[in-house]
């Protein structure tokens, strides 16, 4: 058999246009600002192995296994298809020149894997056509989108053509190493040789043309992820992905992001890595309650905007390629999108970067925030209460100033714990619990200022920077090394965000410390305090943002003697209370209340007590319960539950 004279130019053109498309897109990625994502290659490779090749997150959902099969089939068939193209140019070359001992196992593998690929493509097609989950679609794409069906159809065609071609060429009795092709050939038995030759040739051309079309469709569709997902996993954020980069406050700088070129190149690469799988959309509390935000759309709009080379505003009226302001303010920064994305796209930091632009360059934000910002700047707490009142809660105990060199733990009480009368009960519960365990702790009193969590998530980096520097300086001055806090927002900010200020602190959330004290035998609650049926609500900033799931549960177990129940959506899949990301200080104008959703989810299980580990969750769930007329369900912090158990002694 000879090479077809048309094939070489065809292949040449196809490869050239493919390369050009890829170049075009990668060129667009380089528009982005510099960011170092090249450090720690070992760690990065390990991530690629687990997230890309291991498909770790893909597999966490049903049908993930389908993608796993397809992914690995693709990798193997990459070799087969390269050989196919090679032999198109040089018939008789490539793998066919290998000795049988190698060739036969390979042929066996390709044959089997092609069948697997065909099956999983069929399943995927059926899923999209007949039982698509709601999150596959949204206002700009549907599960039965032409693009998705076309791609799946192409893959199926490739596999079918492959089998037909092989089958038609198999001489009777041949092909024991290609069981599937052989089975097909049995069907064609008895056809004249010329017909078989025609079938083989046609299949070969169909396979060749579809393959080259597929190659060219990749960079021009959401299937670009086939090319970018693996690099995207490599360049993932090795540090806390929700911690946005610092900004330099210098004359002439731009602040935040209002155009694609202000994003980092990795942000732009993210947009080409999105496969529109919809998992982020499925988990997002804002999207789930009918708000404007859809994290998937933020990434999609970024891609569209980038492809149109910034011809549209990045932030503006709600249309494809533009994120609307309302959507950006809807985000609770709960991190569900971050934790579920199979290819490690960083949605949340993009939203914060765009908020930064709105707040810092345009001073455009929901009006409720004006008060918050001024209160934070002037009185270092969200309510604008006099800083001198901060240490007032301690008056029921004895003075407990943090003494440099003497006190072990700084108890960073936080704003809610200092001023909110409900959260103050948690503060006292923790204080007495620590005393019971004989822990040396102290507070900064009126010198403590807000950690700055809300202002940072809201994009007011300038104010956050001032607050963070203030706190860091104070910590250094007082020689603070270890910090305990009862608020996950303080906890995460001090632990993760303050690292950017060059201070290494040992920060523990009170759930971790209490659990540790229980393990060490320093806290014993011999008479368990029954709280009835207990459900534990994961706080986003403790759980998802800091992977702390077992400690709070262990505390409840130690205090009540029973394992707490879980919400339907729990741990990594937990559902936000609605207060994170500065939403605590904003009106919820659109859609259902996030806290109502969460409370309804709890009430299905008829709990007596909902345990929380965060003052914001406390407020949101208590409010939600009252609104649902379910005040009889108590909301308690884990510290309160422990303190109650200790007092039963």
């Amino acid at each position: 058999m000879q090479s077809h004279p048309y094939f070489m130019p065809l292949l040449f053109v196809a490869v050239l246009t493919f390369c050009y498309s890829c170049y075009q897109r990668l060129q667009l990625v380089t528009v982005g600002a510099a960011e170092n994502r090249f450090d720690r290659p070992g760690e990065r490779l390990a991530g690629v192995l687990s997230y890309a090749f291991g498909q770790k997150r893909v597999l966490s959902r049903p049908f993930g296994v389908n993608h796993f099969v397809l992914f690995w089939a693709f990798l193997l068939l990459l070799v087969a298809n390269a050989d196919f193209l090679w032999q198109g140019l040089f018939p008789g070359g490539g793998l066919s020149a290998l000795p049988e001992g190698i060739r036969h196992p390979l042929e066996f593998a390709f044959d089997l894997v092609s069948l697997l690929a065909l099956v999983s493509v069929t399943v995927a097609l059926a899923r999209r056509l007949f039982f698509a989950p709601s999150y596959l679609g949204n206002e700009y794409t549907k599960p039965r989108s032409g693009e998705a069906l076309l791609i799946l159809g192409m893959i199926a065609t490739l596999m079918a053509a492959y089998f037909l071609m092989n089958a038609a060429r198999l001489a009777p009795g041949e092909g024991s190493w290609q069981p599937v092709s052989r089975a097909v050939s049995l069907v064609m038995q008895g056809l004249p040789a010329a017909t078989l030759e025609a079938v083989a040739l046609t299949s070969w051309w169909v396979h060749a043309i579809v393959l080259l079309l597929f190659l060219n469709l990749l960079p021009r569709s959401k299937h670009m992820h086939i090319l970018t997902a693996i690099p995207n996993c490599y360049f993932r954020s090795l540090d806390h992905p929700a911690v946005p980069p610092r900004e330099e406050f210098q004359m002439g700088n731009r602040f935040g992001v209002s155009g694609v070129e202000q994003f980092s190149w990795k942000d732009l690469l993210d947009s080409f890595s999105c496969t529109e799988c919809g998992r982020c959309q499925d988990l997002c509390p804002a999207h789930n309650t009918g708000k404007s935000l859809n994290p998937r759309r933020v990434v999609h709009d970024l891609k569209v905007n980038l492809l149109e080379k910034g011809g549209k505003p990045l932030i503006g009226p709600k249309e494809e390629g533009t994120s609307c302001e309302e959507a950006l303010w809807d985000c609770t920064t709960c991190g569900a999108c971050l934790s579920v994305c199979p290819v490690l796209i960083e949605h949340l930091p993009k939203i914060v970067k765009m908020r930064r632009h709105l707040v810092q360059e345009k001073a455009r934000f929901p009006e409720e925030l004006l008060n918050l910002f001024e209160n934070m700047e002037q009185r270092s707490n969200p309510w604008g209460i006099a800083p001198s009142e901060r240490g007032k809660w301690i008056s029921v105990l004895e003075e407990r100033d943090f003494k440099p060199g003497e006190t072990e733990y700084l108890f960073f009480v936080g704003c809610a714990g200092s001023f909110d009368s409900r959260a103050k009960q948690t503060t006292l519960a923790l204080a007495t619990t620590l005393d019971r365990a004989g822990i040396s702790w102290g507070i900064l009193g009126k010198d403590e200022i807000c950690c700055g969590d809300s202002v940072r998530r809201l994009g007011n980096e300038f104010v956050f920077d001032k607050m963070a520097r203030g706190n860091v300086e104070l910590f250094r001055e007082r020689g603070v090394k270890k910090i305990v806090t009862a608020c996950p927002h303080c906890f995460s900010t001090l632990k993760n965000d303050y690292k950017q200020y060059g201070i290494e602190l040992e920060v523990v959330h009170h759930s971790e410390l209490i659990a540790q004290l229980v393990r060490d035998g320093k806290l014993k609650a011999p008479k368990k305090a029954s709280q009835g049926k207990v459900l534990f609500h994961d706080s986003c900033y403790l759980g998802r943002h800091n992977d702390t799931y077992t400690a709070p549960r262990a505390v409840i177990e130690a205090a009540t003697g029973g394992t707490p129940g879980d919400f339907e959506r729990n741990r990594e899949n937990g559902f936000c209370c609605g207060a994170g990301g500065g939403r605590m200080w904003m009106e919820e104008q659109t859609g259902a209340r996030i806290n109502h959703e969460r409370v309804k989810e709890a009430l299905k299980q008829e709990p007596d007590t909902i345990c929380v580990s965060c003052p914001y969750c406390m407020t949101m769930l208590e409010d939600g319960l009252k609104d649902q007329g379910a005040e009889k369900v108590r909301v308690k912090d884990i510290a309160e539950v422990m303190a109650e158990a200790l007092n039963d002694r």
Partner: protein, 306 residues
């Protein structure tokens, strides 16, 4: 000691603050004379000398001319104190008179303590006594601080007063009536707020009625607004309005910090709540432990009777 009291009228009506000046002067123990830019029909019913300038000639608001009228009266009376109400009329006019006479002014006197003038400082967080350096001074007196208990039946000895200055660069265009807005909590002097403790939408009317009896506005905590019992413009708190009325009555409001942050600047806070230890008690000047739905009608009735 002699005091010249500068009375005020608006749109044909003498304002009550004029009588409060008389009460204040009595507390000072001063011999009183009055000056008014108005009409004979508006003359304060006080048995004292009244210098009356014709408002039709000198205008409702023409501070330049009114200043000269006050100065003309002062020239005749030679008073130790020239006293204005601390009102939009008084605080606009008093400094002009003081500056022209080059004498000191003490603003918004709230009390007389041991013969000294007491004024408030820093939103009432502090008080101070102030004394003018010279024998003559201009004072303005806080509205409502001195109640006139006497009869409004004295006969003033009216003396018409004219000035030579005929025109003013300022041109008074007219009054604009108060906007018929749904509610303007930011400017309200009295706010009566309903909280979740009122139970249901139908009960909000009871609180609204109490607000009316107080002559104040109806406020609400966030849950009441969220539940749709009243509109958002009534919401007091961090995501609603921050208010600072002279009197705030919290009805069935437990006092979540978001609400406290919105009303803690109020001059005087009354909380009506069944729970004596509700967080609102920390902020309240008076904590009334009662069922607000039972108390409100009783209170409203007494207010109307008073």
């Amino acid at each position: 000691m002699k005091a010249l009291l500068v009375c005020e009228q608006r749109e044909g009506k003498l304002l009550d603050t004029s009588y409060e000046l008389v009460a204040f002067a009595e507390r000072l123990g001063a011999e009183v004379s009055l000056v008014l830019v108005g009409t004979p029909a508006q003359a304060p019913q006080v048995a004292a000398k009244l210098y009356l300038a014709d408002v039709n000639k000198y205008g409702e608001y023409s501070p330049e001319l009114h200043k000269h009228i006050v100065l003309a009266a002062a020239l005749k009376e030679n008073p130790d104190y020239i006293i204005f109400p601390h009102s939009s009329y008084g605080w606009d006019l008093a400094p002009r008179v003081a500056a022209t006479l080059r004498v000191g002014q003490v603003s918004e006197v709230v009390n007389i303590v041991d013969g000294k003038l007491e004024v408030s400082l820093c939103n009432g967080k502090l008080r101070r006594t102030v004394s003018p350096k010279a024998a003559r001074a201009v004072l303005t007196v806080q509205a409502g601080a001195f109640n006139y208990a006497g009869q409004k039946s004295g006969a003033p000895q009216v003396e018409a007063i004219e000035i030579s200055q005929g025109s003013s660069a300022l041109q008074f265009v007219g009054y604009e009536p108060a906007e018929k807005k749904d509610v303007d909590l930011g400017r309200a002097e009295i706010i009566v707020s309903a909280g979740r403790g009122v139970g249901k939408k139908e009960n909000v009317g009871v609180i609204a009625d109490l607000a009316k009896a107080f002559g104040g506005e109806l406020g609400a905590s966030r849950p009441v607004v969220d539940a749709g019992w009243v509109g958002h413009s009534h919401q007091v708190g961090t995501t609603g309005q921050t208010v600072s009325p002279k009197l705030y009555v919290a009805c069935g409001i437990s006092g979540a910090i978001q609400h406290l942050a919105g009303m803690k600047k109020s001059d005087f806070i009354v909380a009506i709540n069944k729970d004596k230890d509700a967080p609102i008690s920390e902020a309240a000047d008076v904590m009334v432990v009662a069922d607000v739905l039972a108390l409100a009608p009783v209170l409203a009735e007494k207010l109307r009777a008073a």
